[in-house]
């Protein structure tokens, strides 16, 4: 982001951002969410982080990162369950387990540990399941924890697409003006006139089996309008400044002027909007999951846990914990967005 001459602006913005206590705390919370997403398998999981089995060291929990499970566990018929088979098939074996023996994708059956009764379906919060269990007996805490991964992914990917598109399109419209601007502005207006969810659902309806990737793409390709609008305005403003005239007088190409001189200074409003956009993307993903769209029923999306509340209305824990997670995430991104706005507003500079 900060290339060459624009370093000063962003360093200044960062300094001013850090001085605001609440937005900075929210920023740290976003970091904490990212860390939870990354380290979820260390906290909750049913696969050992490290284990020694028949003289070899393995790390079966890489499965939670999309890694392959070692073939030896297939051959020895572990069937995805480790504690008892490990001891039975190799009494010498040892394993280091995640903090909680819970799985976001399946319930804990009885006898997975010697003499363990297993998890019941729809169990209220207790010392055994801190956030209770859902109708399939899956631990809600594990699901909420793994849900941070989906929220993070949706936010980053969809706003990555929307940000790139919005900044590029807005920059072109603002820089060239005239017919280019007319066409682009018209498209932006059209996008703004269709209610968000209506447009997203209409687009999802033309995909045969809409999954979470489609959803992220659809959010990305529909939510760039305000980013483009703001970038366009900033570029138009900066284009008229003296240093751009100077660059032009020196014979710089339009690409160089736009991408080296104008755009780096025009990005602040776009980043503010992207922060709000991430909050919105998380909201949309969970809302659609709640309605049964996007992520698969198995996926630990927060919206999916909310959905399971709809058929079990007495189980408050199915609503309260994922609901709080969505709220805190949205709140944190909104606060970061506001803080960013405050920090980059030139009128407030001291």
């Amino acid at each position: 982001m900060s290339t060459g001459k624009s370093v000063g602006f962003w360093r200044e913005a960062w300094r001013r951002f850090r001085r605001q206590r609440i937005p900075f705390a929210a920023f740290l919370f976003v970091g904490f969410l990212a860390l939870s997403a990354l380290l979820a398998p260390f906290v909750a999981g049913t696969k050992p982080m490290v284990c020694r089995y028949k003289g070899e060291l393995y790390s079966p929990f890489v499965a939670y990162y999309g890694g392959p499970e070692n073939g030896v566990f297939f051959r020895d018929r572990f069937r995805g369950v480790y504690p008892v088979p490990l001891k039975k098939k190799d009494p010498e074996s040892w394993a280091v387990w995640p903090l909680l023996y819970k799985d976001p994708y399946r319930r804990i059956e009885s006898g997975e540990w010697d003499g363990d009764p297993g998890d019941k379906a729809l169990a209220p919060p207790s010392s055994r399941n801190l956030f209770g269990t859902d109708e399939q007996g899956r631990d809600v805490l594990a699901r909420v924890l793994y849900g941070t991964r989906i929220a993070l992914l949706v936010g980053v990917i969809s706003m990555g697409i929307a940000g790139t598109l919005g900044i590029l399109i807005g920059a072109l419209a603002g820089y060239f003006g005239g017919k280019v601007d007319l066409v682009i502005s018209r498209i932006i207006e059209v996008l703004m006139c269709v209610p968000t969810l209506v447009l997203i659902l209409a687009l999802l309806s033309i995909i045969e089996r809409p999954g979470i990737l489609h959803l992220m793409a659809v959010i990305g390709f529909t939510r760039w309008d305000s980013i483009a609008r703001l970038t366009r305005g900033e570029v138009m403003r900066i284009k008229a400044s003296d240093y751009v005239l100077a660059a032009r007088a020196l014979g710089a190409s339009w690409q160089r002027i736009l991408f080296r001189h104008v755009l780096p200074n025009a990005l602040a409003p776009a980043f503010v909007t992207i922060a709000f956009g991430i909050a919105n993307a998380v909201l949309i993903e969970s809302a659609l999951a709640l309605l049964g769209f996007g992520s698969t029923p198995d996926s630990p999306s927060w919206g999916r846990t909310l959905e399971s509340w709809r058929s079990n209305k007495d189980c408050w824990w199915l609503a309260v914990f994922p609901g709080t997670a969505i709220f805190l995430t949205v709140l944190a991104y909104n606060l970061v967005g506001d803080g960013l706005q405050e920090a980059t507003d030139p009128r407030l500079r001291d």
């Binding site: 968000t196 309605l291 309260v320 949205v330």
Partner: protein, 324 residues
């Protein structure tokens, strides 16, 4: 004024055409066959004869530009086609569901304005004090609180734990036996939770908005003049400051309408409210393309109408603006 209106209407029509073209084109551009997809997507069995019917209804047997113009021609004559799933006229279905949706959204807008204006004035007046800061912070949190989570929590608290409000629906089962006032009360009783979910976010947003615009207005010279000539704080706030902060405030209608309609898709689903949001959601589930197309257009039309109303109000509250 008239030429302004005509231009706006023309632009609105252009937007509608572009939206319809976009959605139509996308539906046609997708891999596979809309009719076959529809057959696979819904729960209803579809006979081969119905499949050909669907293909013809959607113009799948023609080139897509030709089919689009044919469809658009029908729309202009008020024929939006027949719903695949409901097997009824799309116009009828939409007219039935428009009322419940507008009932919620218009009530919510009016309520939000009615509550947030005094709240905003109060917080501008108490700026910087403890009560204002608590209010502002709680409103900020409320603004970030997802409406569907609120809906679920409200249902949990008021319909499941204590049974004060119905869990969902528009009417009680004994609605037809009720007297007129009983009917109205029954409707209000069913509306309470959905309207609350639609409204609190807007209240939070508007209040913050009023507070900041008034804070700006309060710095103007004429406010100092008003205070200097000994007017009370209330008169200064309401007569001098508030009236001048109205101008940006009315444009908020234009912004809040799309958000409300977007929210209706989720909230109507949660509350099983028989409005357009719910109808739209069902049309997506069943891949009911005539209904999807028509509802997308109606939603867009409502947003355009909201924008137009906001702009006209803008002229109404600010005499400096003329639409000559």
């Amino acid at each position: 004024m008239r030429s302004y209106l005509l231009r706006r209407l023309g632009l609105g029509a252009l937007t509608l055409i572009l939206v319809s073209f976009l959605v139509y084109g996308l539906i046609r551009a997708m891999p596979g066959d809309a009719a076959a997809l529809q057959a696979g997507g819904g729960d209803v069995e579809i006979t081969p004869q119905q499949l050909t019917e669907l293909r013809a209804a959607f113009g799948l047997d023609k080139h897509w530009t030709l089919a689009y113009f044919e469809w658009a021609g029908k729309v202009l004559t008020g024929n939006l086609g027949t719903s695949f799933h409901h097997r009824r006229s799309v116009v009828e279905l939409i007219l039935e569901s428009l009322g419940p949706t507008l009932l919620l959204s218009v009530t919510s807008i009016l309520l939000a304005y009615g509550i947030s204006i005094p709240l905003g004035l109060f917080s501008a007046h108490r700026n910087g004090r403890a009560d204002e800061r608590v209010l502002t912070a709680s409103l900020y949190a409320l603004h970030s609180f997802p409406s569907y989570v609120m809906a679920i929590l409200l249902i949990l608290a008021f319909s499941v734990k204590v049974r004060w409000f119905p869990v969902f629906g528009l009417r009680s089962s004994n609605y037809d036996e009720l007297s007129t006032s009983g009917k109205a009360l029954d409707l209000l009783w069913h509306m309470a939770l959905p309207v609350a979910c639609y409204t609190y976010g807007a209240i939070a947003y508007y209040t913050r908005f009023i507070r900041s615009t008034i804070a700006e207005v309060l710095r103007q010279d004429y406010i100092r003049t008003a205070r200097a000539k000994g007017l009370g704080e209330f008169t200064v706030l309401v007569k001098h400051a508030f009236r001048n902060s109205l101008i940006p405030f009315v444009t908020l209608i234009g912004f809040s309408f799309p958000a409300l309609l977007s929210g209706s898709v989720i909230l109507e689903r949660i509350f099983a409210w028989p409005g357009m949001g719910q109808l739209f959601f069902e049309s997506i589930l069943y891949r009911d393309y005539p209904l999807i197309m028509a509802l997308t257009m109606v939603f867009t039309l409502l947003v355009l109408a909201g924008n137009l109303i906001a702009d006209l109000l803008y002229g109404l509250v600010d005499p400096r603006i003329t639409y000559a």
